[in-house]
């Protein structure tokens, strides 16, 4: 046997070969390119085509961006400096920087006030967004922030935001006194108490107590206005949206039908129509001379619009929960408010996060629609005053590109945060 074997095998290695390096085509950049860019003839052709397009884009945009003029008094001066070369006229951004951020009517000597409010915004939302990182005590500041921001941005007597705050406190005290007996008594009693408090303090002479210079609402503008509208409307529309979603699922027919009507009506009407109503139609119904603040009207309309959408998103979350969860709450002997607060909503809201973020990002971008009712938000500033000035008529790319960059930063930030939050709340089994 062994003989036959010996003849059939010509050569037997009796020692190990030294380890060789992998062939050149199977390591490093070349392997990566072969695997990802040129894995087949078709893919290779597509890669080359994409490279060609990229080259064209970059070779067009880069000289324009790098060779830009940052210091010139007008578009004509820009063109003289460029002298026929390619280059953007970014001087419009430097000259109108403050107008793009604050609008053209906000008094320039007090730009620090909205800037400070903007910085404090981060302090206020940090404990809300990153609950585990920051101490719970910071939430007190978050609760005070709306009043501080109002005082900083609009100015006036400090007693206005203080009384507004105390009204809420009074409402809460009444609520907590009566809620043990009946939720409805506590809820409506609280609202009534707050309104009574505001009505009574409305008669007090509050002019000039620790007053900052007053800035009228119509003087707000620029990206500041987008941020004000976006922040206020998103934060208001989430609680309203939750209430509407729960109302729509309610067993009580009147509440259910009110919620359905509201949601379906608002969703059936374009936002721009609501804005026109806020701006134009209300002016006919209010007595002449009454000045119902335009920003307040717009905030109410956008909040209504957004809360209808958020209600539908949350209803989706509620519907996605198995019926067992509701029954579990009942079997533990929890009442409606408790089972919602402790069992249903935490799960439903978690499911709804992507939807809510989607609505928020869309809403933030929709705030630019206010430019059609002659408010000067970022886009309104660009399309109106800046492009209409004799100096800058004709600078389109630089201005609108800048607006796109600002909006991208904010919206991308929101979307990244929501993905992080989803990972944090991940409890399912994978």
């Amino acid at each position: 046997m062994s003989d036959t074997h010996q003849q059939s095998i010509g050569y037997v290695r009796d020692s190990m070969l030294p380890e060789a390096t992998p062939p050149l085509g199977e390591v490093g950049a070349i392997r990566w390119m072969r695997a990802n860019l040129f894995s087949s003839i078709a893919n290779g052709a597509l890669t080359l085509a994409s490279l060609f397009v990229l080259y064209h884009l970059i070779s067009g945009v880069l000289p324009w961006a790098l060779n830009g003029v940052w210091d010139a008094p007008s578009i004509r001066a820009c063109r003289e400096i460029l002298d026929g070369n390619t280059g953007g006229c970014f001087a419009v951004l430097t000259e109108r920087w403050n107008q793009l951020l604050f609008g053209f009517q906000y008094p320039s000597e007090i730009y620090w006030r909205p800037t400070l409010a903007f910085v404090l915004l981060f302090v206020a939302i940090a404990p809300v967004l990153f609950r585990k990182v920051f101490p719970l005590r910071m939430l007190v500041f978050s609760a005070l922030y709306p009043f501080i921001a109002y005082y900083l941005i609009w100015g006036g007597s400090i007693l206005i935001p203080v009384f507004a705050l105390l009204g809420f406190v009074a409402g809460y005290l009444v609520y907590s006194r009566f809620v043990a007996q009946s939720f409805a008594a506590g809820f409506f009693g609280g609202i009534l108490a707050a309104f009574v408090f505001w009505y009574v303090t409305g008669f007090l002479p509050i002019e000039g107590v620790l007053a900052l210079q007053v800035v009228e609402s119509r003087n707000m503008g620029g990206f500041m206005l987008n941020l004000i509208l976006g922040t206020v409307c998103v934060s208001l529309s989430i609680p309203f949206g939750i209430a509407l979603a729960l109302g729509r699922q309610s067993d009580m027919p009147i509440i259910k039908w009110i919620c359905i009507l509201f949601i379906e009506f608002i969703r059936g009407v374009p936002l721009i129509t609501l804005l026109f109503v806020a701006n134009v139609v209300l002016a006919y119904f209010l007595p002449p001379g009454t000045n119902f603040d335009l920003i307040l009207r717009v905030i109410i309309m956008i909040t209504m619009f957004a809360s209808a959408y958020i209600a539908e998103v949350i209803r989706g979350g509620l519907a996605a929960l198995p019926k067992g969860q509701y029954e579990a709450g009942d079997s533990l002997g929890l009442d409606y408010a408790q089972s919602m607060r402790l069992i249903i909503l935490p799960q439903a809201l978690k499911i709804s996060i992507p939807g809510i973020v989607n609505v928020s990002v869309g809403l933030f971008k929709d705030t630019t629609l206010v430019s059609v009712i002659s408010m000067f938000d970022l886009v309104g500033m660009i399309r109106g005053p800046i492009l209409a000035s004799t100096d800058w008529n004709g600078v389109y790319w630089e201005l609108l590109g800048f607006a796109a960059v600002l909006f991208f930063i904010v919206c991308y930030g929101i979307s990244q945060y929501s993905q992080w939050l989803e990972r944090q709340l991940q409890t399912d089994h994978r």
Binding site: V280, Y284, F285, P287, S374, P385, A388
Partner: protein, 338 residues
């Protein structure tokens, strides 16, 4: 529900009461500032500068009226309006005067219940062509491709004009002036047509404005003027005669530079009457005797306003054309002050 109805009825009643008893002049004096509606931005006519100060040709009218009524050209609250919100803003009383390059038409005057107090700019539809096309008259445009804003009266005017002259054209529909600029420069159309003042402003924004010309033909009438609400003739008079004072001031050579000197008394009775040195025309309207002097001192007479904002020495470079004094072959003709 009953409550809302009552509230609604109350507000409507209050609105009606307010509108009926509208004495805009008294309101403006009590308020201490004029609420003047302007555009949200139109090159040369109204736009805020880098410091947020409104300037422009229409803005000049607002300032003149404020100076005439209150003696202070800065006592104006400018309310920017869009083409869609301008008429409701005026009708609802949010603004006292609308000076927003608005064309005086029959239906706006009669049906919308406004009162045009005059014309501060005679505009009309024109044509912008590249010099390289070698065209010197609109009559030579047969067969051209033309950029035109859809759904406007300019579209209809253009069709009428070409049919009347037995010419053919190829329309390129566009939405906004910005889009038109890009299309025209990219060569998508040979000709761009809109109001002549708009053409001049568009041309001013070009990299080489000298390569393009506005043809001499004007094919439609667009008289632009300030307007007020129906039913308050006293206030209408104030606005109308302030505008007339600016126009007359140019005719008689009263400028912002020499108004002080002339108001000491001249040998021309008409100038003396305008400036309040002789007679007291202002009192008939409930204004100071020096109302017109203040209006002229605010930004200069009509010609000065024109030259400063849209005239030939500005980048917009509009020539006076129809907007010259009647003595120079234009249409500006202020009735006598007596």
């Amino acid at each position: 529900m009953t409550k809302t109805v009552t509230l609604g009825a109350l507000t409507v009643a209050a609105f009606a009461a307010g509108a009926a008893g509208a004495a805009t002049l008294d309101d403006v004096k009590a308020r201490g500032s004029l609420n003047c509606g302007v555009t949200t931005g139109l090159v040369g006519f109204a736009a805020p500068d880098a410091n947020g100060e409104w300037e422009g040709f229409d803005v000049g009218v607002c300032r003149a009226v404020a100076a005439a009524v209150l003696g202070d050209p800065t006592a104006v609250t400018f309310v920017p309006t869009t083409g869609k919100t301008r008429f409701t803003a005026l009708a609802s009383g949010e603004i006292d005067l609308l000076a927003r390059n608005t064309t005086w038409t029959y239906s706006r005057d009669v049906d919308l219940k406004f009162e045009f107090v005059g014309v501060n700019y005679y505009d009309g539809q024109g044509f912008l062509v590249p010099k390289a096309l070698g065209v010197s008259s609109a009559k030579e445009l047969s067969g051209a491709t033309i950029c035109i804003q859809t759904g406007t009266t300019t579209e209809l005017n253009l069709a009428d004009y070409f049919r009347k002259n037995n010419m053919e054209y190829q329309p390129v529909p566009i939405e906004t002036n910005g889009e038109a600029q890009q299309q025209y420069l990219a060569g998508a159309c040979d000709v761009y047509t809109t109001d002549a003042s708009g053409l001049a402003a568009t041309r001013a924004a070009f990299e080489t404005p000298g390569d393009h010309v506005v043809l001499p033909e004007i094919i439609s009438k667009e008289p632009l003027g300030p307007l007020v609400r129906h039913g308050d003739s006293e206030w209408g008079d104030v606005a109308r005669w302030t505008l007339n004072a600016l126009i007359a001031a140019e005719e008689y050579g009263i400028t912002s530079a020499n108004v002080e000197e002339l108001s000491a008394g001249t040998d021309s009775p008409e100038i003396d009457r305008i400036l309040g040195t002789e007679d007291n025309l202002g009192a008939m309207m409930g204004l100071e005797p020096t109302w017109a002097k203040a209006a002229i001192a605010a930004g200069g007479n009509y010609g000065e306003l024109f030259e400063k904002n849209i005239g030939e020495n500005t980048p917009i470079g509009l020539s006076r054309g129809l907007n010259a004094q009647w003595t120079d072959g234009g249409l500006l003709y202020a009735p006598p002050f007596r």
